[in-house]
């Protein structure tokens, strides 16, 4: 592998890692703060992609589609938290798994009813359609760089939101001691609803901006969900920093795995997970 190919694959890996981070950070936050294992998180990613595909039929403008789509997904997340997840806070993980699994079945079937089983593509916005020239023969699409940039901004925004704002303070208080926070006058139910909706919107956003580079297809949610689980397990459940490191690790491992070990590409990420767990069963940044 020459240097340029290495650079391109690294950029691809990092960009994939950023998308994974958007999904995995929501998953890990929802677990860390609310104690909920949410299998339906992948379904939000899928819904985001399909909603953008659907809205692009009306506007042709990805930005508008995303701006219209995000409030829809926030509302979907809010409703699901209120009418399903909120009954599960005191229940065993087993029931959380089953109920959110039931949600997956429903979402996947609704997707089939509305959009069928075809693969769709979403065009890259024309402003970002260009490429950066790396060498005489190799170019790199601007849109992929743009995604990395956007995701980096969001990651930084999350860091500020949780570490520096009043809402972030309430979230952290609720995570470390739910009852005490409630006694101090914080409406924990509302905080949880906000966290869940934000997590849903993040996953959907990843699906929206990712739609132009991967296609939009049935089962895309399942795939991202399981990879996100791997990311979260590697990083340590509940840790955003862990989700970031895990996402980068998996993004790069998957990308280079496909180039270097094409026969075992899909197994590489799980091997990485097994190695990390051998070393630290609680994940890289998890509390024992």
């Amino acid at each position: 592998m020459d240097l340029t190919t290495f650079l391109i694959q690294t950029l691809n890996g990092v960009q994939y890692g950023f998308l994974l981070f958007l999904v995995a950070s929501g998953l890990t936050l929802i677990f860390g703060i609310m104690g909920i294992i949410n299998l339906a998180h992948g379904a939000f990613y899928m819904l985001g992609a399909y909603i953008v595909y659907w809205l692009m039929g009306y506007t042709d403008n990805l930005l508008i589609a995303v701006l219209v789509g995000l409030p829809i997904m926030l509302a979907v997340g809010y409703l699901i938290e209120r009418f399903a997840i909120s009954y599960l806070y005191d229940r065993d993980h087993l029931y959380q798994v089953l109920l959110t699994y039931g949600l997956i079945l429903i979402f996947n079937e609704l997707q089939k009813i509305f959009w069928g089983t075809d693969f769709y593509s979403v065009p890259v916005p024309s402003v970002l359609g260009g490429s950066v020239t790396l060498t005489e023969t190799q170019v790199y699409p601007v849109y992929r760089l743009f995604i990395s940039l956007i995701c980096m901004t969001i990651a930084a925004g999350m860091y500020v939101l949780i570490g520096r704002t009043r809402l972030g303070m309430m979230i952290r208080a609720g995570a470390s001691n739910r009852e005490m926070a409630q006694v101090l006058g914080i409406n924990i139910g509302r905080v949880f609803a906000i966290v869940f909706s934000l997590g849903a919107a993040l996953a959907a956003f990843a699906g929206m901006v990712g739609a132009p580079i991967s296609s939009v297809y049935p089962g895309m949610g399942d795939q991202i969900l399981i990879i996100s689980f791997v990311v979260v397990v590697i990083g340590g459940i509940g840790s955003i920093k862990g989700a970031f490191v895990g996402a980068m690790l998996i993004g790069l491992a998957d990308t280079f795995g496909q180039v270097l070990l094409p026969d075992f590409a899909s197994v590489v990420v799980y091997a990485v997970m097994a190695l990390v767990l051998l070393w630290r069963p609680q994940g890289l940044f998890g509390k024992a």
Binding site: L99, L103, I106, I113, S176, R178, S266, L277, Q282
Partner: protein, 344 residues
């Protein structure tokens, strides 16, 4: 009032009913019921983990599918392979996989355990899904059924659906009895103690990790046995057997029927299977119905049908589950740090 007598009575009637069923059934329902009984064995094996040991495995389909693929691998193109040879190979393979996956998984608990078992199962799924030599995503046919006999003398013919039906019925009863005996034995008592309170069990001097690993291997092997039977009865193995939707389905069977009872999961497999069969006649959107149904069960019937029966017969509600939640995962934290109340 004890539930033992009515349940035993009901089970005897059910077995008798299943025994005479082939005389009244057409071939479709014969094969369908064979499948349901296989799923019953599969669900029972998962209940050993979820209901008795307190390990929520979300990758149980891995062992089910793996054993089926092993049968396809050891069966030559044009001749049958002996049951005496293929069954130990397939069960051994499933047991080995359960040993490796279990070794990684039982060191963790709670949500980690769920995610890790799921991830490992998906790893196997992708491996078989992309392995073109084994038919890739289409799966692989097993043209000759295993041969049961010595030399040229055949005892039973597994190519005959009715014979397979009775073979599976006998296996179901055998697995049920095996688990019943095992759960009464000291080993079974220890794993149930782990479910109730792992800390106390460890304090009593039991190596709980090892007990959990052994339970995981036994459950994986029995799931492999179910997968072997499924491969024998249908003659095809596909990556779908390993898919996590299959793990989810069997988990539904366990909860719907009632975890922590051995008959519950079998009941769950039959009820959900028959419901599927009926709904399919009306609409093609079975998953929609299934999704709504499972949410309904989680919200209103958490102890499953067995729990409902218990309530109808006036048995006091089983509080094991609540105890387990407090004493299990969170209990670890209480012991680990003085102000560990925080997660509740």
């Amino acid at each position: 009032m004890s539930l033992k007598a009515p349940v035993t009575f009901f089970l005897l009637i059910a077995v008798a009913g299943l025994a005479v069923f082939p005389h009244f059934s057409d071939e479709f329902y014969l094969e369908f019921f064979t499948h349901l009984m296989v799923m019953g064995i599969f669900a029972m094996s998962l209940d050993l983990l979820i209901g008795y040991t307190g390990l929520v495995s979300f990758g149980h389909a891995a062992f089910f599918g793996l054993a089926g693929y092993l049968l396809a691998i050891v069966t030559p193109q044009d001749e049958a392979v002996a049951l005496w040879l293929s069954l130990p190979v397939c069960l051994g393979g499933a047991a080995l996989a359960a040993l490796v996956i279990g070794w990684f998984s039982v060191r963790t608990s709670g949500i980690y355990f769920i995610m890790i078992t799921l991830a490992f199962a998906q790893m196997l799924f992708y491996y078989f899904n992309e392995n073109e030599a084994l038919g890739g995503s289409d799966g692989i046919f097993i043209f000759s059924k295993p041969f049961v006999g010595f030399g040229d003398w055949q005892i039973i013919d597994l190519a005959n659906p009715t014979t397979v039906y009775y073979f599976v019925l006998a296996s179901l009863v055998a697995c049920y009895l095996l688990l019943t005996v095992m759960l009464r034995a000291p080993f079974g008592q220890v794993i149930q103690a782990i479910r109730a309170n792992e800390h106390r069990t460890r304090a009593l001097g039991y190596d709980t990790q090892r007990y959990k690993l052994v339970a995981f291997v036994i459950a994986g092997t029995m799931a492999g046995f179910a997968g072997y039977l499924e491969a024998v009865s249908t003659g095809i193995v596909s990556p779908g057997h390993l898919h996590w939707h299959n793990s989810g389905l069997v988990m539904m069977h366990v909860i719907l029927g009632g975890m922590g009872t051995l008959y519950g999961p079998i009941l769950g497999a039959f009820i959900l299977g028959l419901l599927h069969d009926q709904v399919q006649e009306v609409t093609e959107h079975w998953h929609l119905v299934q999704g709504v149904f499972v949410i309904f069960v989680v919200l209103f019937l958490p102890r499953g049908i067995a729990g409902l029966v218990g309530r109808l017969f006036g048995r006091p509600p089983d509080l094991d589950l609540e105890e387990n939640r407090v004493a299990g995962e969170d209990g670890n934290k209480v012991d680990a740090e003085p102000n560990g109340e925080r997660t509740k």
